[in-house]
Symmetry: C2
Subunit: 663 residues, 2 copies
């Protein structure tokens, strides 16, 4: 077993038994048992010995942590266990205002509690639904609007299910009432009524006036499917170009480990290129989705999909031929159930190659001789379903040392009921069907980048392109054309922002290793996404809970346990306990073990075309070597050749086909 | 023949004979004979009859234009010819300061003139090159630094060819002298000496101190090629999903015409989706590449690759299996030679489908039932080699009504010689090998978008996302979370800028057609590229010649003949005669025949990894329907299915494979 391997079922079973033994006679409800990140200073000698082919030292201690509830007192506990010694490292009761994430059993259980509650049943009866039409509910993160609130609350948005089909689109038919339950006591706290007009007014539940749902399931469409899409098959007759050894992947000079946990889902560890360290750990650390609807209870709609729920437990279990093409390797994962037993998650991560057009090409125009190399990529992907929405997260590695983190947003918009009679157009929402609208919202992501550019001590800088200054640069610029790059070094932990006007480029470099060609420290650049900040007021809970939104880049000195941009506990949090707090320490970060955090966002004012299921909206962060190599590291990729690629000419009469790329 | 069809060889021959007949007894040198855009008001009835299945009216007149020189007076002429009537519409001598674009024969001829000139030979001899080492030259656009200059000048950058191999990388070994020739008189004007140190100083040509070139040709690499890249084959056993009729393409609800001319290369015409008009014409209108090196003669390095040369004549003639995978349709083109004869350009545009991952997905978490549709795309691509650089331009159409214009920059950096002894680091340039450096530069593109959103009269707006204002929006926002979109209509021709902080989105809408769901005018949005402006001073010729760089968006009222953002003649131009001039008319552009121009840029401070051939750097502009449809127009795309996709599981022991996308 490797220090970066995900948790195994026997480890879950062992941890559960250790926890039960340490809390004898107490009924427990388990939320999470998962690996605790190993102590970095203990891991480094181990992975460096691996990288350099030395004898392996003792691996770091195998630690797991657990969130659990005492069923007697409802106290929320956190425990850390050393599996090697089978001992409890720490076990503490957390303050009353801290709520752990939701877990799968809790949500499923609460759905049933809600739908069986007599007051909810009575409310549903007021809808006077026709036969065959039912109601379902999506439990929602409660958000925060009251610092004094200590209960664990869940907001239930109710929808009409128009037809008994497994993909019936209930999001097209939202109800105008919304029960709130206490997740611990299972009591109904109240029923919120949803405003359906221009203002804050609400009204009592009225009989449903039947309208057609906007369906996406092919069996429910009223028009036939298109018939002119021909098959496109990716064949790899010699198999994939990657090789595997457990969670270790080797591909085209890259070597890395695939990690998985309940919270972040996919994690990449210990990425090296051509035997050189590049990154220690890469993962999406947090995301938050605040909604722009000012009306109660919508002001509380702010999900933290990583911290409140967990990308690992919302991962789709993928199927061959559906989510990727070619030769696919799937990785499984494990979560726990509420009794602390392992639950097998099949195929939660997929790994495959893809062709992405041309990587580089040059034609000598004098003779038409061309070198052309195709852009083969390796994709490591997970797809998460968070109730209505889907996120497709992919790490894409290329042959020239580049890495892309791609987010695709798809799935179904979060919807609200609206009065439809007079053509209601709310300035914060887009009508997407009869009586249904999709409020504006933002997806704000934070990517945690733990770099290891040719070693574990790095420096973060940014470079701005500005007109040359004759005095500063010591040269006349008679025609006013000169421009230069100015570097700013982040000396102390803190933050920085993107700047389109200055063409700002962030770099992570190793001051101890100088490139023989560029004569500058070896580095990677981060092509950050320039995006809008959170639109909510600084006084809002939304902004205060997610202060990572305030800057595109945060830099902190590495400390074990600092993984999540909004803090460890986000569910009903009042304030961030994350990267903003750690950056405020102002630690020296020049040539230190630094962590680079990138916040980027998608302001999503829905289109009607985004309903009932949304064509992907894509965002990408790119990491590229810049003076890390002395020249293009992909020069040794063989030329693109017809003999290999076997492309086909679309012609009545085929032209002569040559197996080369000459003119 | 269709009004949008590219020029045919018989049309070239006819035009040449008409021109010769109209200038009897005068020796002529032809630069360009190509189609003149047909009068839009004459085309619209024709293409609307096609679209609606009505009898076709008379097509518009078939016009061609020509640039040519009188060899007696060196006068530069422009002619317009009506091929239907075989008459000359206009023939005029252009002012002396106007230089036409370079043409292929001119460049090849001048290379020879330069290399055979005794003074150039004498200069080369001073290098004292060893046996087998030769010199070649890249003729360069002269740029502008003097309003009084009326000669047609060419700057020759000289390089050492270290080995007699057709792909020997001479750009790795630049010489420090640069002849300037008069392209008309063929006289050597002078030899410029290139500064190689920190300042403006130059020195006489010295004997070459041999250094190794950084080579890219696989045969010249000192290390073996990688052997672990396995074939990836795209199979389309039932053929492509597109159908063709001449230059008409039909694919997945799209219908459009592929155009081609010497200047813009690829043009898309008359794009409709599901029978509805979307765009009248799409093409890259101009690009300029100014360099940030302040020293003579580098201050003049500013290519306009569209206007100075032409993307059509620099198009690569593509080869099957090298530049794209799958089933490929190639389109040919024609240019002229200096005698006015047609020259066949084979395979200058390619058309093929690609798979781009998932288009949309939703899983009902209650039962694991998923709808997942793959993102099949149609790519229309050309690849241009402009001396050292390569550009890959692709229009990518999707099944949900989206269009992406993708630019990939690749090829070889433009290089300069540097003194290498003391680790010279110029603040405007990156060393990329021994004695060679690659100056910082910008690629500034302008995309001309002639929209036809459900009709030919459209309105351009932009939408900013801003916090809700209780007074203006008439609603309290007690928790400070509300945000709304504010629309600004461009009433008069002019410009606008991107704004990341406001999440600005540009839209082109049809005020005469209201979407029944959104209750707003049907529209497309343009996801503009937020990028840095030109860094050169406003007083510089660089900035004044390319004023399109000043704003990300320009809007003009349509006029025939207004196609190129920097004006018709860019070679040695002194000032822009393009979109800035036309926008300054301030025409009413609300609900009019408008043109939308988008400027976007790449500030390219080279990496050592960009040499000797550069991994692609990508930029994309996206066009997406927004309230153009009442719902996702790709709902009718069949589900992704293993039975069709035939993916393969990478496992020692294969798991059970189901032909579905259920959990």
């Amino acid at each position: 077993m490797h220090p970066f391997d995900p948790i195994r079922p026997d480890e879950i079973t062992l941890a559960t038994s250790i926890l039960k033994a340490s809390l004898p006679g107490i009924s427990l409800r388990f939320k999470v048992i998962d690996i605790q990140e190993p102590i970095k200073q203990h891991v480094i000698p181990y992975i460096e010995a691996e990288r350099t082919g030395q004898p392996l030292p003792k691996p770091p201690a195998r630690l797991v942590y657990s969130y659990l509830h005492r069923l007697d007192t409802h106290a929320f506990l956190k425990a850390v266990i050393n599996l090697d010694t089978k001992g409890v490292v720490s076990l503490k009761e957390l303050p009353k205002h801290i709520q752990g994430p939701v877990d799968v059993d809790e949500m499923i259980g609460l759905e049933t509690v809600c739908l069986k509650h007599p007051k909810v049943i009575a409310e549903i009866e007021k809808l006077q639904l026709p036969d065959g039409v039912t109601v379902c509910t999506d439990p929602w993160i409660y958000g925060t609007d009251d610092e004094a609130e200590h209960r664990r609350l869940v907001q239930f948005y109710m929808f009409i299910v128009p037809v008994a089909h497994p993909q019936s689109n209930h999001y097209s038919l939202p109800c105008a009432f919304s029960p709130v339950l206490d997740a611990n006591s299972k009591e109904l706290v109240r029923i919120d009524y949803l405003p359906t007009g221009r203002g804050h007014d609400v009204s009592e539940t009225q009989p449903w006036k039947p309208v057609k749902a906007v369906e996406y399931a092919h069996e429910l469409l009223e028009t036939p499917l298109r018939t002119d899409l021909k098959p496109l098959i990716v064949q790899q007759p010699e198999g994939p170009s990657f090789s595997l050894d457990g969670h270790l992947v080797k591909w085209q000079k890259w070597r890395f480990r695939v990690g998985f946990n309940y919270r972040e889902g996919l994690v990449l560890y210990n990425l090296t290129f051509d035997g050189r360290n590049v990154f220690y750990r890469l993962a999406l650390s947090e995301m938050t989705v605040p909604y722009g609807d000012p009306r109660r209870p919508y002001h509380r709609k702010q999900a933290f999909d990583v911290g409140d729920v967990g990308l690992g437990i919302t991962c789709n279990q993928l199927s061959l031929g559906c989510d990727c093409l070619g030769h696919i390797k799937y990785f499984d994962g494990f979560r726990i159930d509420s009794a602390g037993r392992p639950v097998h998650l099949q195929n939660v991560i997929c790994l495959h190659e893809q062709d992405a057009g041309i990587l580089h090409k040059h034609t000598n125009y004098r003779n038409g001789e061309a070198t052309v190399v195709r852009n083969r990529q390796l994709v490591v992907q997970m797809i998460c379903t968070v109730s209505n929405y889907e996120y497709i997260f992919a790490w894409v590695l290329d042959q020239a040392g580049g890495i892309e983190f791609e987010v695709r947003a798809t799935g179904i918009l979060s919807t609200i009921p609206i009065d439809d009679g007079e053509g209601l157009n709310l300035p914060w929402s887009t009508p997407v069907g009869p009586g249904v609208s999709a409020p504006y919202h933002q997806h704000i992501f934070n990517l945690r980048v733990d770099p290891a550019i040719d070693g574990f001590n790095n420096t973060v800088t940014y470079e701005d392109s500005v007109p040359l200054d004759p005095e500063q640069d010591g040269i006349e610029d008679p025609f006013g054309v000169g421009y230069v790059a100015r570097t700013t070094v982040l000396e102390a932990a803190g933050f920085a922002d993107t700047n389109v006007e200055l063409g700002r480029v962030f770099k992570i470099r190793n001051d101890g290793v100088v490139n023989a060609i560029s004569r500058k420290p070896v580095a990677y650049k981060v092509q950050t996404v320039a995006s809008q900040r959170m639109l909510m007021s600084a006084r809002s809970f939304n902004a205060r809970r997610a202060r990572f939104h305030e800057h595109a880049v945060w830099v902190t000195r590495y400390r074990d346990g600092e993984l999540f941009a909004a803090g460890e506990f986000t569910n009903q949090s009042r304030v961030s306990t994350g990267v903003d707090v750690w950056a405020a320490r102002g630690d020296d970060v020049r040539n230190q073990d630094v962590v680079f955090w990138h916040t980027f966002a998608l302001t999503h004012n829905p289109r009607p075309e985004d309903f009932p299921v949304m064509p992907v909206e894509r965002l990408s962060v790119h990491f590229k070597p810049v003076g890390f190599h002395e020249k293009n590291p992909a020069l040794d990729v063989p030329n693109s050749q017809q003999g290999v690629n076997k492309s086909t000419l679309v012609e009545e009469v085929a032209k002569e086909v040559k197996d080369c790329c000459k003119l």
